[in-house]
């Protein structure tokens, strides 16, 4: 995300989103629809719950031997004639792609939707090096033309109206196009078909990589994933190290729950298994396959706070149910990965400092954990993250002082009892309509946007003495 945007504090970014009427409407419609589709799809799928447990166990077991699985994956990709590259940082990954472009004379690369390439800002680097990157997922294509960033992991352009898309296409593709999704889709099909046939390189991420067989697995609905892995002469797949799974038997467990969680489909239109470059006797397919394994801060978390975030399948289900995401959308988060899981992934990739504000952009209601196909305990990690921010003195000093005081209070029964009495007296001037409002000092930060129930006239402890 642009630095200019990030210089705006999060509350202001969120405030702007809240005032954007269209965004509010679009978010409500989109997230509600996704929630319903998901619910419906799991309702008719009794084995879904057991499969989610199974999938979670597979992710955990794989992480426990991640080195072994990665080695096996690399060996098998190489056995099939592919080349494996190891990128510790985003910069290294970018450099690898650029070097391939330079060495092979690549002028244009077609891309299927990949959060990993967003994460390393690959498009900017390619453009800078004179290579034209073309996003081919319709949503990604729209936001690339508009010079924006994705606002949802699986529906990157949900913040745009069909009218805006029509205007954008008319301007960028030189035509007069009506605000009709069907027509606009046909326009994109035609424009992008040419690119697929011309491009020298196809760039993808992957949903999974199967160690046993050296297979890169792509799940798409539009068919662009198939195009970019079938037509250009070079295929580059960039994947986070956590995408590796052991076997085909494991793969089908994930396939059974991934699309259901994301869009409510039983399977997405296309699941594409790429087993190395084109084989002898095969007419089509790339002559070269490069698999770039990206660490970029992931391995640091294997034995740390955010370990579970490495289970993430990038389905987007936690975004749809999050009361914060539903209000502010993806852009206000300011980083590649929005929503509850996005906060954790941002902390993983960019460091804790980057989420000092975002760590609090959650009500800890737990809806994200409930819908996560692999049951990632996002609320627990958010709390731990807040604790880290406090300990590392990244959190603002006011916050740290308040929490320190609160800790003392809660640890001592006497202090706690006393605080109730003091609170009861001190709160009097601020009670209106039976709620606490407009508190002074730092407490005002809370009551500016929310109210609080007042301290009860008699506490439970006082009543308990009589009750027993």
């Amino acid at each position: 995300m642009s630095d200019a945007l990030l210089r705006t504090p999060f509350p202001e970014r969120a405030g702007a989103a809240l005032k954007d009427k269209f965004l509010q409407e679009a978010l409500k419609i989109a997230t509600t629809k996704f929630i319903d589709l998901r619910k419906e799809s799991f309702a008719g799928f009794p084995q879904g719950e057991a499969l989610r447990d199974r999938a979670r166990a597979i992710k955990e077991a794989t992480l426990q031997h991640l080195d072994v699985h990665l080695e096996r994956l690399a060996d098998n990709v190489e056995r099939l004639g592919g080349q494996v590259h190891w990128a510790t940082t985003a910069g290294e990954a970018r450099e690898m792609v650029l070097r391939l472009c330079r060495d092979r004379g690549v002028r244009m690369a077609v891309k299927s939707k990949s959060m990993a390439t967003e994460e390393i800002d690959l498009n900017e680097a390619l453009e800078h090096a004179g290579v034209t990157p073309v996003e081919t997922d319709l949503g990604e294509y729209i936001i690339q033309l508009a010079h924006e960033k994705p606002s949802h992991i699986i529906a990157p352009a949900i913040h745009k109206t069909k009218g805006q898309v029509a205007e954008l296409f008319s301007r960028e593709l030189h035509g007069e196009f009506p605000a009709d999704p069907e027509v606009l889709t046909a326009v994109a099909r035609k424009a992008l078909r040419e690119k697929f046939l011309q491009a020298d390189m196809g760039i993808t991420g992957a949903n999974f990589a199967v160690a046993d067989t050296g297979t890169v697995v792509l799940v798409t609905n539009e068919g662009n994933g198939r195009m970019v892995t079938s037509l250009p002469r070079i295929h580059v797949a960039l994947i986070g190290v956590e995408k590796v799974i052991p076997s085909m038997t494991d793969l089908v467990v994930f396939l059974a729950i991934l699309a259901r969680s994301a869009t409510g489909q039983k399977l997405s239109s296309y699941t594409t298994l790429v087993r190395g470059p084109r084989r002898a006797g095969e007419l089509e397919g790339p002559e070269e396959l490069h698999l770039i394994l990206l660490d970029n801060g992931r391995s640091r978390q294997i034995a740390s706070t955010l370990r579970e975030a490495l289970y993430c399948l990038r389905c987007g289900a936690c975004l749809n149910v999050c009361p914060v995401y539903r209000q502010i959308g993806g852009h206000a988060y300011g980083y590649t990965y929005p929503g509850p899981i996005g906060i954790l992934l941002t902390a993983m990739l960019k460091g804790n400092e980057s989420v000092r504000e975002l760590a609090h952009a959650s009500s800890l209601c737990g809806a994200c954990k409930d819908v996560c196909p692999v049951r990632i305990d996002i609320p627990r990690m958010l709390v731990e993250l807040r604790e880290h921010l406090d300990r590392e003195k990244i959190a603002p000093w006011t916050e740290r002082v308040v929490f320190k005081a609160l800790r003392r209070l809660l640890l001592s029964p006497t202090a706690y009892r006393l605080s109730a009495t003091v609170g009861r007296l001190a709160q009097r001037p601020f009670i209106r309509d039976g709620r606490l409002r407009g508190l002074p000092l730092v407490f005002g930060q809370w009551t500016k946007t929310r109210d609080l129930p007042p301290v009860a006239a008699r506490t439970f402890r006082e009543r308990w003495k009589e009750l027993r």
Partner: protein, 243 residues
């Protein structure tokens, strides 16, 4: 640039530091995939009518068009009807050997210009020529290696005489299959993929496997469902009754 050894060493170090590991295991692979696959096939030899019904229901739910013909001789007429409905003039097909029958003569009689891929073609000129032909064709005719009932999915392996573009570039994709291709569940597909992987004859046959569940679709503009973004706008499955 980081080398493989250094990269893996870092991962190994972090893995070994992990505190409080709990027992977790991956899915259990079949000990003998070939035998497991054989068992699945045997079971389905009995249950194919149920599997077919289920496939039909799910396939139609994802906007697939299902056809049923008595034998291979009736396939060209069925394809011809689809072509007429779309005003299609050109078709590409897999190699007759991969397809199990030669569709070209009958389809030509139906008025279609037909290009069949040929096994063994793999030079650059042939590649570009075929791509051009597939991009111009309105109809692509393939077989299906597995037909998955649970989700209404056609599973196609690429390979010699089975170009990837046949089921991708034309507006309409037609897949022809018989009862021996049916499986019921994704779990069974897992078994079949494990078996494929250990089968020395087939493991290296083609580099791509595609699961196709209905036509290409998107909902990226205001969540309006639209078909035929990049891939086919329509998918037809023709079931051939005669074993």
């Amino acid at each position: 640039m980081t080398g493989r050894a250094e990269f893996l060493e870092r991962i190994r170090r972090e893995v070994s530091k992990t505190p409080g590991l709990f027992g977790a295991s991956t899915a259990t692979r079949p000990a003998d995939p070939a035998t497991a696959a054989e068992t699945v096939r045997r079971e389905l030899a009995e249950r194919w009518p149920q599997a077919l019904e289920r496939f039909r229901g799910e396939f139609e739910r994802v906007a697939g068009v299902f056809h049923r013909v008595p034998d291979l001789a009736a396939v060209p007429a069925a394809i011809g009807a689809i072509a007429r409905e779309h005003g299609a003039l050109r078709a590409v097909t897999w190699d007759p050997a991969a397809l199990g029958f030669d569709a070209a003569p009958a389809l030509t009689r139906e008025g279609l210009e037909v290009v069949a891929a040929r096994a063994g073609q793999e030079d650059e000129a042939a590649r570009l020529r075929h791509r051009e032909q597939a991009a111009r064709a309105q109809l692509g005719v393939t077989g299906a290696d597995l037909v998955l009932a649970e989700t209404g999915t056609l599973i196609l392996l690429s390979g010699s005489g089975r170009p990837r573009s046949t089921s991708l570039l034309p507006d309409v994709h037609v897949a022809v299959f018989g009862r021996d291709r049916l499986v019921e569940t994704l779990e069974q597909v897992g078994v079949m993929l494990e078996a494929l992987h250990v089968d020395p004859d087939r493991a290296m046959s083609g580099a791509m496997i595609n699961f196709i569940t209905g036509p290409s679709r998107t909902a990226d503009i205001e969540l309006t469902l639209t078909r035929g973004v990049h891939g086919p706008k329509e998918v037809h499955a023709i079931f051939v009754e005669a074993p």
